[in-house]
């Protein structure tokens, strides 16, 4: 397991000189999972130190070993794990081989840990006040009773939860996403630990809430406490970290100060990560490097065969939504207006981005465009003919004109079907398809090639594929019936940055090749700006602002749009 790796050489000169007494020292940490005969190394020779009052960020994509590294520091790597390190010290004490009891004394009291997505990280059956109280009681910092209740309220106030007395008695699901995350942070900082580890603390949150939580975490550093921040989002990290560790496949590929990593990244992987972030600057350029280039060259031959469908450019828009209204009945029986008086149009070959925070009604709008939801007011027309008000029977043969790609393609696939069957099924849905099975088979191969997948994957099942591959299959399925419109509902939200970059590039390429229109829904302003011609901003079911992408994002007119744009974490240092 003790393999030497090439990255070790630069690591020495890039690491800031260690001071005599760091808070945390990790030297040659190795973590492996599984029984002895089939052990899989997930963290390999990782070394770093954390000084008092400093924030060290660990960035990397899923499977890079960043979370496992962090969990090792509190002794919670899980069953069947094998941890080995030359040195592992915290506050000058060896934490390499602690007993269960010693670990427990450390957790919460000296090292606080915040996990992502407080909805699942707080016990859904317990009031949040009890969860915060637990942190205090476990270490006998306080006795049960009035003092405890008072301290809990103080902590909730400290993390900025409004009406702390009331919220303390509420269950996690009764709080908003931001309030939940604040409460979770309160459980971690209850005993004012010397080190706070935050594992993707803002990943599940909307941009404006994300900005607030980052501010809250920054306060920890003002109290001279150390922090380890784990994230896949380089922009989030750039705002807070003093030092950055870039991990890939369990190894540190680059380690340096924020200035150095963002200003002068030395490793190709780091440069790729920085380039993969879609933003204003990236518009019109490709986000991913060489890997997708193979696909572009295919444009000439297989690609053209698919464009034959004549997209006549006419004056009227392809899809038009007129004053859409949708209401749903809530659990309390009250009607809630989810979409209120929203109009938009989508032209041939155009991309309309719809942005908004969760609950803004963007997905409901998309479902009405797909005629999966009947509007309570207004109408959707497709190519000038009625669409939302047509009967399902009339719509059925026109369904192939409009496809959809979801955030999580896995749940939209039958897990027992092979990739070939998934795409073939979409092909047969095309109206008047007299062709035989053999030609369909060759078309499946063409489609796979078009989305950058090897046709040899045809016999696989979707469970065997990676997240990026699955999304490519979903795209192949969406383009199979030669649609005029593809509705993309958060198609890259669940993907790592570099995979996200490839998928965004693929969508861009397909647009020019197939001259398809996109209704592109995302909470990520960067992705929307990168891809969209025009943008519609939604808030609480209403269209706040609409216009050309550059106008909306660079010169927002409405206060809400301004707030949204301002909340997006920007890379603190301009990439070279």
């Amino acid at each position: 397991m003790n393999v030497t790796f090439p990255a070790a050489s630069f690591q020495e000169d890039a690491t800031p000189p260690p001071t005599s007494n760091p808070l945390l020292t990790v030297q040659n940490l190795n973590v492996a999972f599984g029984p002895a005969h089939s052990r899989r190394a997930v963290v390999k020779n990782v070394s770093f130190t954390v000084e008092k009052g400093r924030c060290v960020a660990i960035v990397g994509e899923s499977g890079s070993g960043k979370s496992v590294t962090a969990r090792t520091l509190v002794g919670l790597t899980g069953a069947c794990s094998h941890v080995q390190a030359d040195r592992l010290t915290f506050q000058g004490k060896n934490i390499d081989r602690l007993s269960d009891k010693e670990w427990r004394a450390l957790r919460g009291k000296h090292i606080g840990f915040v996990l992502q997505d407080a909805l699942v990280s707080l016990d859904p059956l317990r009031p949040i006040g009890k969860e915060i109280g637990e942190a205090l009681l476990v270490h006998r910092a306080i006795r049960r009773g009035a003092d405890l209740a008072e301290r809990v309220v103080e902590l909730l106030k400290l993390v900025g939860v409004p009406e702390p007395e009331v919220k303390a008695r509420q269950l996690p699901h009764e709080l908003s996403g931001g309030q939940r995350q604040r409460a979770l942070i309160a459980t971690a900082i209850a005993l004012d630990p010397a080190l706070l580890i935050a594992d993707e603390p803002t990943t599940a949150l909307d941009v404006t809430i994300q900005a607030q939580i980052l501010d809250l975490l920054s306060e920890t550093r003002e109290r001279k406490k150390a922090m380890i921040l784990i994230s896949h989002n380089l922009a989030v990290v750039s705002q807070m970290a003093d030092e950055i560790i870039v991990m890939r496949d369990g190894e540190i590929v680059e380690h340096g100060s924020s200035e150095q990593i963002f200003g002068d990244p030395r490793h190709d992987y780091t440069r790729g990560l920085l380039k993969a972030i879609p933003s204003v600057r990236s518009r019109g350029s490709r986000l991913s490097s060489s890997r997708a280039a193979r696909f572009v060259s295919a444009e000439g031959d297989e690609g053209t065969a698919l464009i034959q469908s004549d997209i006549a450019h006419c004056g009227r828009p392809l899809l038009e939504a007129e004053r859409l209204v949708k209401r749903f009945r809530g659990p309390d029986g009250k009607l809630r207006t989810v979409v209120n008086d929203v109009s938009f149009s989508l032209g041939y070959g155009e991309t309309l981005g719809i942005v908004g925070e969760s609950g803004s009604g963007k997905t409901t709008l998309a479902r009405m465009a797909l005629a999966l939801e009947v509007p309570d007011g207004g109408e959707v027309t497709l190519e000038g003919r009625q669409w939302s008000s047509a009967t399902e029977k009339e719509r059925r043969h026109r369904r192939s004109d409009i496809s959809v790609i979801y955030q999580d393609p896995l749940s939209s696939f039958d897990p027992r079907w092979t990739i070939e069957r998934v795409i073939d099924d979409a092909l047969t849905r095309r109206r008047e398809d007299p062709r035989d099975r053999a030609s369909r088979q060759s078309e499946v191969s063409e489609l796979l090639d078009l989305v950058g997948l090897s046709p040899s994957l045809k016999t696989r099942r979707t469970l065997e594929l990676s997240g990026g591959q699955r999304q490519r299959v979903a795209i192949a399925r969406a383009i199979a019936p030669h649609p005029k419109i593809i509705v993309c509902d958060e198609p890259v939200a669940a993907l790592d940055v570099s995979i996200q970059a490839q998928i965004v590039d693929l969508l861009g390429d397909l647009k020019s090749q197939l001259r398809v229109s996109y209704l592109f829904i995302s909470h990520d302003l960067g992705v929307v700006h990168h891809l969209s011609d025009r943008v519609l901003v939604m808030n609480h079911g209403e269209a706040v602002e609409a216009g050309r992408a550059d106008d909306v994002f660079l010169r927002p007119r409405q206060p809400y749009t301004r707030k949204l744009v301002a909340a997006v974490p920007q890379l603190r240092f301009q990439a070279a």
Binding site: L76, C80, D100, V120, S121, P124, L125, A190, D332
Partner: protein
Amino acid sequence: MNTEKTIGKRALWLARRLLSGLIVLWAAATFTFFVQFLMPGERAQIIFNANSGNVGEIPRDQLLAINAKYGFDQPVIVQYGKYVWDVMHGELGQSYVQYQPVTDLIARQIGPTIALAFAAMLTAWIITITTTVLFAGRDNIWSKALGGFQIFLATLPPYWLATILLVVFAIQLRLFPVVGGNTPMGLVLPTMALALEIYGFLGQAVLGEFTRVLDQPFITSSRMRGTGDFSVRLRHALRHAALPGITLSGWIMGKLLSGAVLIEAVFGRQGLGGVLVAATSTRDVPVVSGVIVVSAALFIAASLIVDITVQLVDPRMKEA
């Protein structure tokens, strides 16, 4: 929060549940009433046979007298109306055979049955909680064996288990009385015979959820606060895992009422089981109907208790 409004909503919910319970009870009464017409033989003939102690053709005058006395000469719809009216007033009629009100008969025998069912349910829950908290979801042989052991228990016929327990613990080891009556010691073996099978089902439901919950992020989160393993299991995981078990308990209650019949026979215990068996063999229709209606009422009460318990354990359910 808005407590007044919440209390109002609770009351409405309870009223709705009670109403639906009454509808179920009415359906059970209606069913048992009409089923008696499907059985062969005149009711008057059954009563005559029971009274005279021998089987023979009923004389015409006797037939008319019995029909008049029990109201069998009235139209069916009138008889049905009277029956439902009586049931609503807690009146279950007269036993054909034992010349006493069915309610008295049941009231005398229901105590031991409820005691047995309650003891069995309690025991099953105690074993479930203990074994789950101690062994479930651990990386050792006991944890793996637990699931298999539960399935084994679930497949055992309780009357067979009852016989084994009786032979080993009462006859061989002489630890418990063979026929215990209503003494606490006499309750132990019948309770175990019923509880072990129930534990098989209940344990499986709780074990599955418990193992699933142990992997949830909020459990990890709690451990990261320094909470000990036992505390995490008891305070966080068990509460979640208990939910499917509580829901299952309503169904188990029904199973216990019917299962008690055989167990009561094996141990020679008093109880509704004996009443039902005797009444069925003598075709004592009012008693059979009465036991069924009372069982239905018990079952309705059990599911109401289950629903209230679920809401206490899972406060999220209160909004639904």
